[in-house]
Amino acid sequence: MRKRIEKGRLVLIAALLTLVLGASSCGNWSFLINPLEISDSTATNELTVAAAADLQFAFAEIAALFEEETDSRVTLVFGSTGQLGQQIENGAPYDLFAAADRKVIGRLVELGLIEADSVSLYARGRIVLAVNRQSGIAASDLKELPGLPVRSIAIANPDHAPYGAAAQQAMEATGVWDDLQDRLVFGENVRQTLQFVQTGDAEVGIVALSVANVPEISWTLIDEQYHDPLDQALGVVAGSPRIGLARRFARFINGESGRPIMRKYGFTLPEEAPGAPGSEP
């Protein structure tokens, strides 16, 4: 009998230890005091920005700079332009939407969900042919792909991701789209597409230039004439309680602080000289 009780104690101790170990790995317990604080969305200095996945790196830098200058907090939500637009149609509480094209923003303006006078162009993107460095594949031209021993080619889903649509156009323009059909894998957005190539599960992919500078891959620019311009527009979400701050962030992206960062990630504006972006492999 005694033995069995001790066994029970042991299990209890193990259970408590697991809980404590698990919980302590996060270090901060202040949420226990007021868990609702975390879901408070009415604070006037907390901006929630929905951003297309190709902005991952550039916007992280810009947001950090903006937070410093304005004493605000910016929460970035990344996804494909189509998905984020869908969420806004369903009432997602975003303050600003930076899309990867003009179309979705235009539709949201028509629906009255984006403030028409806040819409501005903030970037023109480029796509690159990305190759996993360890795949042993050497490709610098889309036309080479059908002849190479490549099992999977990752692109973002052309149905709702603008960079995926551009990838499709480029493959069609170079005449390889039909040949490569059964080797294509679709990422949910350009960030996931990049990840497929980073892990090597897809040896090759077409991703945004703005996210291509990662150690695992080498890349080559794809000629702009092969696809429609990737003009990216942004707009303030109608009914946002932080319209002022959202407009300020929009100006910040296109202003003195934002432009250099955007250029660093290969985003040009139509009036800007097409700079030599990043560093090629």
Partner: protein, 225 residues
């Protein structure tokens, strides 16, 4: 160390959402289980089948229709104006989803306990002047309470692990609706595998800790009885 602190909002949101959802699933599930265990007709068979659906449905079906039902195209505007509650893309949405997926687990475990109460026991209680409400509290709950407790814990854990439908209904907004499961998804997409591993370990520790606790409590009670 800084990145450790970024873990806590998802943890807080996860615990907050799953605790409320677990509790709601417990109350709703036990009531339904009580009804289902003691009434048998064509309607209850269909009802029980329906309650099991959320266990096997693709999360996308649940997520999509809840989004339609509770969003702008459905009750969303009314809920917001009349009650001041925003459901979709806010934590209440995550609670609704988690409650629905947790309920079948509560119903099934509680029902097993309730069906142990035979007709003759009920008749005996009636003869002794026991009302319906009293019968539930004085006979039903004491007999089935181990099943109820286990169901509640399982429901809590199921809510904690919920991902797909929650993503569609509540979104993946850091600091507001991003739960631990979604933080893992986010980290994997960013190729940040060390964060993903750390959050996964945290989630596993909590789940396994709760399972061990349930196991231990059950053992202890079994001995006492």
């Amino acid at each position: 160390m800084d990145s450790f602190i970024t873990d806590w909002p998802p943890l807080a949101i996860s615990l907050w959402v799953s605790t409320i959802a677990g509790f709601s699933a417990l109350v709703l599930g036990v009531s339904l289980a009580w009804y289902l265990a003691r009434t048998k007709n064509r309607f209850t068979v269909i009802l029980e089948g329906l309650t099991l659906l959320s266990l096997v449905l693709p999360p996308t079906i649940l997520g999509y229709y809840l989004l339609v039902a509770l969003g702008r195209q459905g009750l969303g505007t009314w809920l917001e104006q009349a009650l001041g509650i925003r459901v979709v893309f806010a934590w209440p949405g995550a609670v609704v989803v988690a409650t629905i997926v947790a309920m079948p687990l509560v119903i099934q475990t509680a029902k097993t306990g309730f069906t142990e109460i035979g007709r003759e026991i009920e008749d005996a209680a009636r003869v002794d002047g026991c009302g319906r409400w009293q019968f539930f509290w004085l006979v039903g709950v004491p007999v089935a309470w181990r099943g109820i407790a286990a169901g509640g814990m399982l429901g809590f854990l199921r809510a904690l692990g919920e991902f797909g439908a929650t993503l569609m209904v509540a979104g993946n907004i850091p600091g507001r609706t991003q739960t631990l499961a979604m933080a893992i998804f986010d980290a994997v997409q960013k190729n940040d595998f060390s964060t993903a591993n750390r959050i996964a370990l945290l989630l596993l520790s909590i789940s396994f800790g709760v399972i061990l606790l349930v196991y231990f409590t059950n053992q202890r009670i079994a001995r006492r009885e």
